[in-house]
């Protein structure tokens, strides 16, 4: 689970803000608000800003609780924010998810301005997907707005949102992975250098990225305190609207996905497909998991089947186009319990940041109650050369229950993987699979998929 300091339960991702911090007690997450933040918190709650943001689904709801604070001296109040079902990070989001997170941040800033408040940071890590919507989870992100002051979060907004979105839309969608390296967003000089030169003719990108990068270099370390205090409210509105328009103009539409035509190109029939869907649904009803991880989910067909039991399903795939399609579908249908995310299972998200403990690795955010691994094993065992016993060990640590599909060598998908290489996998047989997974799991169900050579299992880790 999330890394904690040993004494008071304070979460290590929450150490930068002198106004308060998150702590965990008896498995419940609380936020201590310090006296230094009393005025701001009161304004947020009493100006109607909080209610407006909650109504719009843009801010995480919280209740004030009667818990002793974790650090008594500084404490003003303790609040309990609603639990986020699964914490995800910007390098795991599709283009559309990052874009919605950016637009939500700006929409919040506009509403805050009306209550004479302003966002003091614009970190993509402060946004999470709750009930399918990009939601600000840091209740302490607001400060008093003083007319004349510039937006302190401007640089952060450009690094966390505008730069990666521009790179994804105009250069290559995979460049969002730079966020995994640069935890405070993509440096603007790097973004400026990577973006195609035609982006200098786009007013938003010219100003907020290219000129911004040059200004950072030119005025680095210069004392600008004397020159602050002269940015009018109208100028601030203009700035926010300009960022909004720059973001809205960026678009990315998946063109044919790696596995996008997978369901058409497979060797299995509609009957086999429906059979798998039916089993995923039935077994999820039977196990009643709260959290399901669908690994290799493609566009989330089986995630949705499993989600019908009421589970929250994280629908992971390695293909940015599949994740984008999955997210757009989920958004259109207003689904609240499916979270599509980008994940390369052969190199899953590591723990990153200060002391490697600011952002949790993929594994640290588990285990899930149930894992779906459909049409996945052959990719890991054959394309990625992972021995079956190691695979079984990995899945046993990742979830309590496992719905896994074995795809034999005679299957055309596996034949395709073996077409260009030597078959060095003598144990990759149904018997070899059952014996390896049998060491780590109790196999409850074994069902041969109709009109195919594949087998679906329901297993429980030992």
């Amino acid at each position: 689970m999330t890394t904690q300091t040993p004494n008071n339960g304070q979460l290590s991702a929450s150490f930068r803000d002198p106004n308060g911090f998150l702590f965990s007690r008896n498995g419940i997450l609380y936020r201590q608000i310090n006296r230094a933040y009393e005025r701001e918190y009161t304004r947020l709650m009493e100006s109607g800003l909080y209610d407006r943001l909650i109504k719009a689904g843009m801010l995480i709801p919280h209740v004030e609780v009667d818990q002793p604070p974790a650090e008594k001296e500084a404490a003003y109040k303790v609040i309990q924010p609603e639990r986020v079902p699964f914490v995800s990070y910007p390098y795991e989001w599709s283009f559309g998810q990052l874009k919605d997170a950016a637009l939500t941040t700006l929409a919040i800033q506009k509403r805050a301005m009306k209550a004479d408040m302003s966002l003091k940071d614009a970190s993509a890590y402060n946004v999470q997907f709750v009930r399918g919507k990009a939601t600000l989870i840091d209740t302490l992100s607001f400060e008093m707005y003083k007319e004349g002051e510039p937006w302190v979060a401007y640089r952060q907004f450009c690094q966390h949102f505008l730069a990666p979105l521009a790179l994804m839309a105009l250069k290559d969608v995979r460049l969002n992975q730079l966020l995994r390296v640069y935890i405070d967003g993509i440096p603007l000089d790097l973004a400026s250098g990577l973006l195609p030169s035609k982006t200098r003719f786009n007013f938003g990108l010219l100003t907020h990225i290219h000129l911004h990068a040059s200004a950072q270099k030119r005025y680095s370390g210069e004392d600008v305190k004397a020159r602050r205090g002269s940015m009018s409210r109208q100028a601030m509105t203009g700035l926010i609207e300009s960022l909004e328009s720059a973001i809205r103009k960026l678009d990315w539409t998946p063109r044919g996905t790696e596995w996008g035509n997978y369901y058409d190109a497979t060797n299995y029939s509609d009957a086999a497909f429906e059979h798998k869907q039916q089993l995923a649904g039935e077994w999820s009803q039977r196990v009643k998991p709260a959290l399901v991880w669908d690994l290799g989910a493609n566009t989330g067909v089986f995630s949705r089947a499993a989600g019908e039991s009421g589970a929250f399903v994280v629908s992971f795939d390695v293909d940015p186009a599949a994740v984008e399609q999955n997210y757009q579908m989920s958004k259109k249908a207003n689904e609240q319990n499916v979270l599509p995310l980008l994940l390369d299972l052969t190199n899953p998200s590591p723990s990153i940041g200060w002391a490697n403990s600011e952002r949790d690795s993929f594994g640290a955010r588990g285990p899930a109650d149930m894992v779906l691994a459909l049409a996945l094993i052959h990719h890991l065992a054959i394309s990625n050369n992972v021995p079956l016993l190691q695979l079984a060990g990995f899945f046993a640590e990742t979830g309590k229950w496992l719905v896994v599909e074995f795809v034999p060598k005679s299957d055309s998908q596996v034949r395709r993987l073996l077409a260009s290489r030597q078959d060095i996998f003598p144990n990759y047989t149904r018997a070899g699979f059952e014996s390896a997974f049998g060491e780590k799991f109790k196999i409850h169900e074994t069902v041969e998929i109709r009109e195919s050579e594949r087998v679906l299992y329901l297993m429980e880790s030992k």
Partner: protein, 59 residues
């Protein structure tokens, strides 16, 4: 007097200067739009107000 005692995020000198320059320009556009709205208002034409962000969703 330090204007922002609560500041814990370094906004960066260059980022402040460039945003003030850009914002000054964009602020003029916002002002022009507001005046234009007023002029249209005299003739009974309702313009899309700058306050409409409460209706437009981020999605």
């Amino acid at each position: 007097m330090h204007l922002m005692p609560q500041l814990y995020l370094d906004p960066g000198s260059g980022s402040i200067l460039i945003q003030m320059a850009i914002a000054a320009l964009l602020g003029l556009a916002v002002a022009a739009r507001a005046y234009w709205g007023k002029i249209k208002g005299w003739f009974g034409i309702k313009s899309k107000s700058a306050d409409d962000d409460d209706d437009s969703d981020a999605k």
